[in-house]
Amino acid sequence: MSDKKPEEKEGPVQVLQTPVRLEYVFSAGQSASRLLGAMAKGKLLGQRCPVDGRVYFPSRGSCPQHGVPLDGAPVELADKGTVATYSIVRIPIEKVPLELPYVTVQVVLDGADTVLMHLLKCDVDKVHMGMRVQAKWKPREEWTSSVENILYFEPIDEPDAPYDSFKEHI
């Protein structure tokens, strides 16, 4: 046993680490729960604004423009849509199921009035605004209540959508 005090042995304390950690039981809320529950059945549910009829997907329970509750019946949307705008990604990011370079897109789903940000699996030279695309789902047996049930979007053989149909989203 040494008679020396700890600070004499090892010098004065100069650094103290004080990690902060808080735990939460997160609740997604009614709107997100409805959306995720429908996802598990392969359905895309949006909600309609009672003021101007615009359909929000995803919906957060209130129209962020008019501030009114979206309490009407949910609106089922197609898993097809139009590329409003896009970006080509050349930097790897974890958990992206596509090889570099890949495309991120803002898709206006048919029947929706908001954009959904997602991945597009296609030749990066071919992507363009107005391109028609459809969701590529995971195998049905792997579906959970998660937005990740849709792996990415793929181009489909349909003529481009007219510019006016998506111009407000760019």
Binding site: Y24, S27, S62, G67, V68
Partner: protein, 351 residues
């Protein structure tokens, strides 16, 4: 000074845990009801100010999504305080005083049930010395209560009397969470949560939200038959370090009450936001209240404690007593920080 009044108030029922809804979904019907009550549309509101805490939501910038409940079109002039909505109301009041607004919408919301609230509140302490020790909010309040008991400031019976009073008053408040008929002798038999505090000494943990409309001059008279005019408004902060404060009194409340003119005339109703019974006693004394004042007709924070909205609700409840004619002069109190660190006092009058 411009004449500014509280003209409308709505709130969500306080519940221990709102299972279904997230904090914005708790807020949505509260704001919607407020707009329907007043007939105000977004373009009629010049300023929007909110109080909430991202630490309760566990998400950075969680407060931004609160605007979903308001609607941001036409573009709104908006601000947020990481404090109780009572301080958001103060900011809105200043904005109106400066002539930048005529009508303001103020709201506070929180869902503390998602986290461990007494521990989360350790993050409002000094981050270098105190927070790393993680003293929970109930233990800190218990230390304060112990000092008050040992110095003869109050007794455990005095404390229990506040709980009995507030829970009884809350029976008439459909939005309150803890209510009913209890006896002092009965609840004093309960075990300690953290000595010397028993369950009844601690405010409940509540999920909830509330919202208020402030309006100036003639606009206030158009929106409300008997506006609750703000005649005194002050908030004062004490040092963060508990060791340098006298915890047996609330100096900041005393100073704020003096500057807000609480003692100038009789106070008919007081709504206090003290989350512990001994703190309610300290606030009553700091405000100089006596038997002539009805204290916490709504039940106060001890009956419903929707963090970030509870102080704003006190202003709304005090204003409601002016509107219904049961009071002509009321005082509302809000607090923030550990052991009553910062206090806000708002005097409302009917004439």
């Amino acid at each position: 000074m411009r004449d500014v009044a509280v003209v409308a108030f709505t709130q969500a029922p306080s519940v221990r845990r709102d299972l279904d809804r997230n904090e914005v979904e708790i807020l949505i019907p509260v704001i919607h009801e407020l707009k329907q009550k007043t007939g105000l549309k977004n373009e009629d509101v010049d300023f929007v100010c909110s109080g909430s805490s991202d630490y309760l939501a566990g998400q950075a910038f969680a407060f931004v999504s609160g605007l979903d409940a308001v609607g941001a079109w036409p573009p709104v002039c908006e601000s947020h305080v990481e404090m109780d909505g009572a301080w958001a109301l103060y900011e809105a009041w200043v904005k109106i005083q400066m002539g930048y607004a005529q009508v303001a919408l103020v709201y506070g919301f929180g869902k503390p049930s998602m986290g461990d609230l007494p521990i989360t509140m350790a993050l409002q302490l000094d981050p270098y010395v105190l927070t790393p020790l993680w003293p929970d909010a109930i233990s800190l309040a218990a230390l304060q209560a112990r000092i008050c008991l040992e110095k003869g400031v109050c007794t455990e019976r005095d404390m229990a009397e506040r709980a009995v009073r507030d829970r009884k008053n809350a029976k008439d408040n459909p939005f309150a969470q803890v209510k009913g008929d209890f006896t002092v002798d009965g609840i004093l038999k309960d075990p300690f949560v953290v000595s010397p505090l028993r369950k009844h000494d601690c405010a409940p943990i509540s999920d909830g939200a509330s919202a208020v409309i402030l309006a100036a001059g003639d606009r206030a008279k158009e929106l409300c038959k008997r506006p609750a005019w703000i005649r005194g408004f002050e908030h004062i902060c004490e040092p963060l370090d508990l060791g340098v404060r006298d915890l047996t009194r609330s100096r900041s409340t005393e100073i704020a009450a003096d500057r807000a003119g609480v003692g100038k005339k009789k106070i008919d109703v007081a709504e206090l936001s003290a989350p512990f019974t001994h703190q309610e006693i300290l606030i009553e004394r700091a405000l100089g209240l006596d038997d002539g004042t009805r204290i916490n007709p709504s039940g106060g924070a001890l009956a419903a404690n929707p963090l970030m909205a509870v102080g704003l609700s006190r202003i709304g409840e005090a204003a409601s007593r002016i509107w219904d004619g049961s009071a002509n002069r009321a005082v509302a109190h809000a607090t923030s920080g550990p052991c009553l660190q910062q206090n806000l006092v708002c005097v409302l009058e009917g004439d």
